[in-house]
């Protein structure tokens, strides 16, 4: 385990709090997008969306079998970059080590 956070000065503690709150906010928004693509568009409203066509695909069918997966991949990448930015902003990034980079 790393250093105890109890002994930190109030300003750093404040920073940590903000970092965690920001992180939770980002996670919450991401989970909403995840829910919308996984369930709302792919399952709950798939029949309605199937009335629309995307080339040869019924739209709802395409979102369920392709589109959602693309969205998942992009979402996770965006989350990685946002958190990398957050780590730097609050000086919480880790020391550079071999293999750390993507």
């Amino acid at each position: 385990m790393s250093q105890s956070h109890k002994d930190l000065d109030p300003q750093t503690r404040q920073g940590l709090k903000r970092y965690w709150r920001d992180n939770q906010r980002i996670i919450f928004i991401m989970l909403i997008i995840w829910f919308v693509f996984s369930f709302v568009l792919s399952i709950f409203f798939v029949r309605e969306l199937n009335e629309f066509k995307l080339g040869g695909f019924p739209l709802g069918f395409w979102i369920a079998q392709q589109g959602s997966i693309f969205v998942f991949i992009i979402m996770v990448l965006v989350y990685c970059f946002m958190m990398e930015y957050g780590d730097k902003k609050f000086h919480l990034e880790e020391q550079k080590k071999k293999g750390d980079d993507e």
Binding site: S2, L16, W34
Partner: protein
Amino acid sequence: MSIQVWTYILVGFTFSIYIGIAIYTRARSTKGFYIAGHDVPAIFNGMATGADWMSAASFISMAGLISFMGYTGSIYLLGWTGGYVLLALLLAPYLRKYGKFTIPEFVGDRYYSNFARLVAVVCALFVSFTYVAGQMRGVGLVFSRFLAVDINTGVIIGMVIVFLYATLGGMKSITWTQVAQYVVLIIAYLIPAVAISYNLTGQPIPQIGFGSKIIDGPNAGMYLLQTIDQLHRDLGLPEYTAAFVPGTRAMVDVFMITVALMVGTAGLPHVLIRFYTVPSVKAARFSAFWALLFIGILYTTAPAVATFARVNMIQTLHNVAYEQAPSWVSNWETTGLIAFEDKNGDGLMQYFGKSNPANELIVDQDIMVLANPEIANLPAWVVALVAAGGLAAALSTAAGLLLVISSSVSHDLFKSVLKPDMTDKQELLAARLAATVAVLVAGYFGIKPPGFVAEVVAFAFGLAASSFFPILVLGIFSKRVTKEGAIAGMLLGIAFTAGYIVYFTWIRPDLNNHENWLLGVSPKGIGTIGMLINFGVALIVSMFTKAPPQEVQEQVESIRYPRGSEV
């Protein structure tokens, strides 16, 4: 050269690579054995996670399953990829920051209780054994179909290979062989998919091809999916792209199964421990991204393969004289994966789907991937490559599972409960012995598979969803959840899920239909309710019990921030 010669060459070649890597990277300490010494770069951990995750079922069976299920097949596609979003957002970075060896260990530390740890060990063992049996069976099947050896011999060869690198090498060897296995399996999956997409639609990218127009044959100029829907209507089957029509699963069940598969994925110990192996929290996040990308390549190709196979199968077989059937039909008839019975005696093969009594053609789901290269008239080496890919998928998953089994026994049972004064060397020996026993048990199940393998896989996901996922997430995002809450949540979640599945699968299988299901949820999707029970009970019990000790709360605080993971 014949298919068999090519298969010997390719399988021999890939196996020597795996063994070479294993010898070169074998572990010498428990840290190396359990978590590859924390030095796997993110992109390679992503590949290893992909191979770890994609099993014989993903590689061999999934496209075929979707091919028969149409839209409803989305449960697998959504469920087995969406779980990685949960992993990336809610679990992977924090488990890495925690930075120890096993999942039960995290549960035991966070909930300051050896009993919680034991419950977690039992779940991890159950889930992993369930899974590994299926993998060894997959190895045996590929061997027997492509190399003309007996299934049992195939299982034994598979056991020896896995023994060599999982038992001797530990996580480090497993990781690097999984990287190689990912490369083999993805190439083996994509080559036939691209070739078939190009033949059928003139579009080499399968993801685009299955939304394109057919270029040849009676339906030339029509969109592929339109064609399938048309063919299905003609045969009296539910339309391929239609959702929740009679004869397919209802919306509530599709939803519940998808959630259970997602949450179960995010709670599978052999996937979770992969995130312990990277050097940093940042690398853990990125490796979740790489894993999802590498998995996504196969998972977005699979539904395309499913549609190509569906059209090809109906167009080339339905109402065609048995005498003029393509040669792959007779090749695969000997394996029992395809069977024709001329019920009306007209010499033609009539396909109406297996629930129609007039149906004359039985087609197994596994044939859609395994026979794909032959259906598309691809050269023998491609067929051999598919065999090597299937083996890579099965072996890589088996190895990851064996590691969970061995570390649960050596680290969580022996080291923590039975003999805490063990030296690192003794523990390493215990881990290897446990892995050896696990290989033997897995092999036994591979040779004498219990008749219920297919059912217990749903069981594994349900249990992972209703046991691990809730208490891991709560353990990270709440400091207030107590050991009493966690233990009660886990036990009730598991008891409910297991009880429901056991009741409908073994006690009253005659009642297993949607009129009797709770809220219309099938046993496959019940893990979702089990998960909710676990969450609810854990939160409520925690409100009435004493808050966790200060040092546990501080530990929770510290896993939330990346800095310090180097320690």
